[in-house]
Every structure is written in C-alpha cells, then in structure tokens.
Point group: C2
Chain length 276, copies 2
C-alpha cells in the first residue's frame, strides 16, 4: 500500500492510498478519514460508496462528512467506483465500464477480468483497512449515493458483513426495472435475469430484508427520480415492516448540495448504531 496524500482535517487525517488489488487485478485508490481518536485505538468505520462517474474523491471533498465523523469519532472509507487504467475494459457511455462498476462481480467478457467490485468493496478492502489502520471491523456501517446507494443496500443485504446500520442518498432502488440497471446488469452478469436479483435492493428487501436499521433520503425533485424507482423500495420496506425510514426531501435534487445537507443526519444515525 502506498500513501498518495495525507491532509490534517477536523483534528484527524484525510488520507488517500493506492494498493495492488487481487480482486480487480490492478491498482486501486481509496480515501480514508481517521478521526483523532484513532491514535488511541481502533475506531468504528462508515463506508461511503459513490455514484456513477465518481472516483474515491468526490464525496471526500464535497460531502462534508468529516465534520460529523470527527465529532462522532468514526472513520470514513471512500472506495473508487470501478477498476481503472490501461488494459481495463471501458465503454464510451458514462454509465458503463470505468466509473460505473455497479458493485457486482462481472461474469461476462470483456468485464470479467477486472470488474469484481463486489468482492473488492465487500471483502478485500475491509480486510486491508482492518490490517493497516486503527479500524474496528466489528463496528461497520455503510452508506452511498445513487449507484453507491444501490451498492450500500445490496452489499448490506448480501449478508457478507454484519453492518450495524445502512443508509443511502437517492439510491438506485430497483435496477432490474430501470435503465439505470438493466443495461449494466446484462453487460456484467449476462442476459439471465435470475442472476440479477442479488443486486436489486427492492427484490432483496422483499425477499429477506435488512438486519440493520435503514435510512433513505431522496429529493422530491431529483432529476433522475424516474430512474431510481424509489417507490419500489419504499413499498418493499413497509410491506416487510423493515426497521427504517424512507424520507422524501422537498425541493432537493441529485447533487452533492443535497448530500451535504443531510450528511449530518446520516453520520449521526450510523454513529448511534456504531457506538451502541
């Protein structure tokens, strides 16, 4: 692992690191915020998964989460959204290939060799940060935005990790029924739709629900509202009597101005579960 940068931030350190990844077969970059308390011993961690076109950097510089994480004494991890670099498959569209990994393990060419983002985010990177930093892997929560909200919800409901709490900002809720989903799931996983269900938050919610409390915020005037299929997840959450809240925020859109507005609520929601 190599240090790209470390900046003092809210009494802690905002770092950026690269490492050779087994899952994705190339170098991966991630951001990690460690609060001051990490100098004394392991701290809980909140994962933030980013949306389409983003790298590890967007939420790290625009989300404002460090202010609240520092107050709560929890770490933040910002993984990249896909493998990158020469020799990694890509597509001209903004919503397929690099920057658009959708947090799945691709089974189809040309994506299969590198696009193993489920394994990377859910397994490899947690093990790495647990080994390299003062992070308590028994206290993990997860959130994300848009495609990253989809990632947070589906990874949490996969059961690979026992998260203490799960949230999302304007998540893609029902990719098997949306143009933000059908295209990518067919490219990465093939045409057999039975293989898609494990990556659809609404189907997972209906099928098994989430062991941890769930908080969703979505803007009433989100410009991608039709693609998110928020109503499908809301229906599934309530039908299942899921411990959770689905909040529609009046007048907000899909931008980081929306995310930063509600970041305090989300970090505090997770902190309550992480420190219980």
């Amino acid at each position: 692992m190599q240090t790209v940068s470390e900046n003092r931030c809210f009494g802690g350190v905002q770092g950026v690191y690269t490492h050779a990844s087994k899952s994705t077969g190339g170098d991966m970059t991630f951001g990690l915020f460690l609060p001051e308390e990490a100098q004394e011993g392991p701290v809980p961690v909140l994962w933030y998964l980013s949306g389409l076109t983003c790298t590890h950097e967007n939420a790290m510089v625009k989300g404002g989460a460090q202010a609240w994480a520092a107050e709560q004494g929890i770490a933040l991890v910002f993984p990249d959204t896909s493998p990158r670099g020469e020799g990694v498959a890509d597509d001209e569209a903004y919503d397929l290939g690099q920057g658009a990994g959708f947090y799945v393990n691709a089974t189809q060419d040309p994506w299969k060799p590198h696009f193993q983002m489920f394994d990377y985010v859910a397994k490899e990177l947690p093990a790495l940060i647990g080994a390299e930093f003062a992070i308590d892997l028994d206290r993990q929560s997860i959130t994300g935005h848009s495609m990253g909200g989809h990632g947070a919800l589906t990874i949490a409901m996969s059961g690979v990790t026992q998260f203490r709490s799960v949230s999302a900002f304007a998540p893609i809720c029902n990719p098997t029924g949306s143009d933000w989903g059908r295209k990518q799931l067919s490219a990465y996983l093939g045409e057999d739709e039975t293989n898609w269900a494990a990556h659809d938050a609404s189907l997972l919610m209906a099928d098994r629900g989430c062991d941890a409390p769930v908080l969703i915020d979505t803007g009433t005037t989100d410009q991608f509202g039709d693609l998110l299929k928020s109503e499908t997840l809301a229906q599934a959450m309530v039908a299942r009597r899921q411990d959770g809240q689905f909040r529609m925020q009046k007048g907000y859109d899909h931008s980081y101005f929306f995310i930063s507005t509600f970041m305090e609520d989300h970090v505090n929601f997770h902190a309550e579960a992480l420190w219980r």
Copy 2:
C-alpha cells in the same frame, strides 16, 4: 443576469449566476448561497474570496460553509478570481493572469482592459447582489483563502465598504515582500512600488489598521508558509493593538481540508458581528 444553476442546499438555495460586468468588460460568474430566511426579507452577507487557480466554484463545493451559514441565517457570495474568456489576457504561469487577479485594478498592459478585480469585487458585484437578491448591504463581512485572504484583508482595509468583521484562511500577508506578490503587483500595477502598498495587508495594518475585528487561521505546516509571510502581519496586528486573533493551527496545510475544518469558527465569528 442569467441563472446558470440553482440547487436546494441546507434549506436554502445555492445558485450560480453570470452577468455582463462593466468593471471587467466581459461576462463574470459567481456563486451565491441564500439561506431559507432570505424568503422573508434581506439577510446579512459573508463574502468569500478564493485563491490562485480557483473559480467561483471551489469554495462553493469544498468549503462546507453553507451548513453554518444556514444555521446563522446569512448569505454567502463566491466571486470568481479574475476575468476570463477569449480576448482576456493570460499567462502560462498558474499565478498570473486568469485565475490570479489578486483583487487589484490593473494599470498596465496587457492586463488593464479587463483585470479590474478590485472594482468588480468591492463595488460592482455588491451593488448587483443588493439589487437582485434579498441581501442587506448594511451587514457585510468578508473572508477568503490565500490570494483571497489577501483580497479580503486589503479590500476591508481600503475602507470602500464598512465590513462588520474580517477573516482569512492562510492569507498572503505581505505580497510586496514575497514571490506571491512582487511578480503580480509589478505586472498589474507597474514597477513603482509606492503603488503596491494599498494592496499589502501588513503595510495597511501598520498604516491604518482594520475598523472591524479580524480572525486569521494559518496551518503550522502550510506548504506555502514561506510565501505567505504570516509573521509580518502578526507583528503588525499586535504592534497596532488590532482587535483580532492570529491563530496558528497545528499540523494543518494549505488545502480545503484545512479550510473546511475551521469554517464553522469563521462563519460563527462573522455571524456574531453581522447580527449584533
């Protein structure tokens, strides 16, 4: 004036607008955050002047000021750092020309026709936002970062506007004695150094001081520490018995991670003066 974008943010609106500027002889873009209270009537305003290479956008997306401005019910203005576009002079260096206006009125060619950033920021833009938005021009404060900290301090001490409070993050403190200053002041204002003194915060502080309280934060490990000449301003402030604080923040650098860490302090410092 034209609206580029408006995003709901912390209960208010983060807007971006362009307008034809008389001072700079071209189109200028600025960001403006209006808190929810602006729907009821005029609110106080805090100016944020950005540093070298920045546009109106950097602080608007990375500074985190909206959270605290919304809490305090004050507006934020984010002007650009120079004129831009075709026909506007420029230089290959990052620290001269476009993105590096230094908040002066250029008297030398090729800069003179457009680089009138003192007039633009101190006179034209205040009049515009006072006319177009619910802004109370009797309640203005000013802050900035690096070159923008220099701008905030020198514009405040020019006396053109009676600011209620003045602050800066890692300001360029003594440009007449630094490579961040001598090059630009000679290019924009000519070789006669007597014309430079009105744009040097340390000289202005020694000569006349600031009518408003002053708050400065600079990191102890700022990578540009030698160029800022912080010690010269600190000496001048204390020698003058200026109402103010010069704080050196341990371990912080010149980045927006530093700025966002102390933004709450700065907005609250200004709010106290603006709402008195």
